[in-house]
Symmetry: C2
Subunit: 326 residues, 2 copies
């Protein structure tokens, strides 16, 4: 039997459900004909973490085929409009669609007055239960992917360096174990007995011997993803990106405007790609583009100079898979 | 010399600048792939009245080629999200583009707590001056098209019949006078002398006689437009629509769902068209469509049964001209 997802002991025993980034918007401060304001849904098995819903996210969800019920947590990096003005529409849509699970909403604590306005921005009947989580310091965010998801994930926030308080995020799947078919065969375990071994951590082998999960499996490193915006180059950006499978990072500017990037608290494409390369990220998604540049190939060229992994210069409605395990 | 616009005495002496409705969105509660939430800019010479900016209006403006500076007033009918969640983005864009004129924002007084949140919804520097105008009763709205417009227009609000307090609006141009070429020739007036007559209301004719504007012109009825949503059929809808050149009116439902329309405080296409026909509206724009219907020709058929003037079943980014004077 194929079991989806992850068992009690964190063993992967079947097909992996979708793990992908659904890009809902890629503009920075000013939206364009082609780019909506920010919005990113990280789908991870049955979890759906919505990062930075900018204005229009609700409609972009419709365009991308994303249901409100697939959102299990909302994570805001900061309270600038291009990262948060879509929150009211999303919350009202969660209510309209009567999403049954509690949806945690994390954000920098200094942004609390604005979050309180956004979740009560116009007249509606709140039918969804929100759990507002102001972040005061770096560290794990309560409830990870949210109580609506069974997927065990750790969500960690770290303060970045922008013109207002910003927290970037990192998602970590716990390490699991990968079953080794030859060891299982050697122990005489197959079929439902493997399922029981996964669930209980121990089983009785064909010869009556005790078989522990560790005897017939190896460590399978958990996957990870990071979401870094808006920020100047800083240690926290590197810490968030360290060894991740998927790094989503702002690249508002090009290197020729590096002074503007520093002034406004942003990254250039080259800086973003350097963070990715030096922190060992496997795949890189650049986004949050200034409307001043019209040719996205410029971002690509700049990033390619320093990063040779999987590179996506994001477009609205792109779906970027979390790379397969190595 | 062609003079644009309207002289001191309200005489039209040259080409008429654009008078049109720019449709920014046509969805009701739920946006679709093809329909953004509401948003309507009534361009009237140098005035631009933005009605009911729903979420995404800022980006729809870009798509429609509408600049922030062309907005001289914002008028909200009520504080449901599909009519107001675009206000923060528009206000922040007015600020970003440093629009120099004061922008009045009118809304039902009972909606004031939400308007206060919307204009301060996320962190930004307010560079535009807003004049918040809570409406307490039917009647003229202060400053009409706003102090940023020279066009003399009266904006009148009337309470409609919905599930929350709603005001519809009506725009009236004052009556002016139309010059009669044969009378001008008879008086021996031409060229710059006509301009002086328009400006001063009186001039000296070729034979030294006193010529009053009334002697060489006839009354030119002012044009008008009405904006009616959300509402059940009610007297105020008829009063707003009375004899207007352009009626923009919600038609959320079709007649087969007339009970739902009544329950939720909305109109059917047939009801909307009946208001238009019985109040003598010259042209009719239906909008604010429920996502439950997929064929807009159904709205058209229902409306055509009762209304034989200019009919537009609005699509996003349509531009509907105010009909030429009769």
């Amino acid at each position: 039997m194929i079991r989806r997802g992850v068992g009690r002991s964190g063993c992967q025993t079947g097909a992996v459900a979708a793990r992908e980034l659904v890009v809902l918007g890629t503009a920075s401060m000013v939206p364009t004909r082609d780019r909506n304001h920010n919005g990113y849904l990280l789908r991870w098995d049955d979890a759906g973490i919505l990062f930075d819903p900018g204005e229009g996210t609700q409609r972009q969800m419709t365009r991308a085929g994303v249901s409100a019920s697939s959102i299990t947590r909302i994570a805001l990096t900061h309270l600038h409009g291009d990262h948060a003005l879509g929150l009211p529409g999303v919350v009202q849509r969660l209510s309209l669609d009567q999403v049954p699970h509690v949806v945690p909403v994390s954000f920098p604590a200094s942004g609390a007055p604005w979050v309180e306005r956004l979740v009560d921005a116009t007249v509606y009947h709140r039918a969804v239960e929100l759990d507002l989580q102001p972040l005061l310091q770096d560290g794990p965010v309560p409830d990870g992917p949210g109580p609506g998801a069974r997927t065990p994930l750790t969500l960690t926030a770290r303060r970045l360096d922008h013109t207002v308080e910003v927290f970037g995020y990192r998602v970590d799947e716990p390490d699991g174990r990968r079953m080794l078919p030859d060891r299982l065969a050697g122990a005489g375990l197959s079929g439902p007995a493997v399922g029981r071994l996964v669930a209980d951590g121990v089983a009785v082998g064909a010869r009556g011997q005790t078989v522990r999960v560790e005897d017939v499996s190896e460590v399978r490193r958990g996957q990870s993803a990071a979401f870094v915006m808006d920020t100047r180059v800083c240690d926290a950006a590197y810490a968030l990106a360290d060894g991740v499978d998927l790094l989503v990072i702002e690249s508002t500017f090009l290197e020729r405007d590096v002074d503007a990037a520093r002034h406004y608290g942003h990254l250039t494409a080259r800086q973003a790609a350097t963070v990715a390369a030096e922190s060992g990220a496997r795949s890189l998604v650049l986004t949050h583009f200034s409307q001043r540049y019209t040719d996205p190939r410029e971002y690509e060229r700049e990033a390619r100079d320093v990063f040779d992994g999987e590179l996506t210069v994001a477009r609205d409605l792109d779906r970027v898979p979390v790379p397969r395990r190595e």
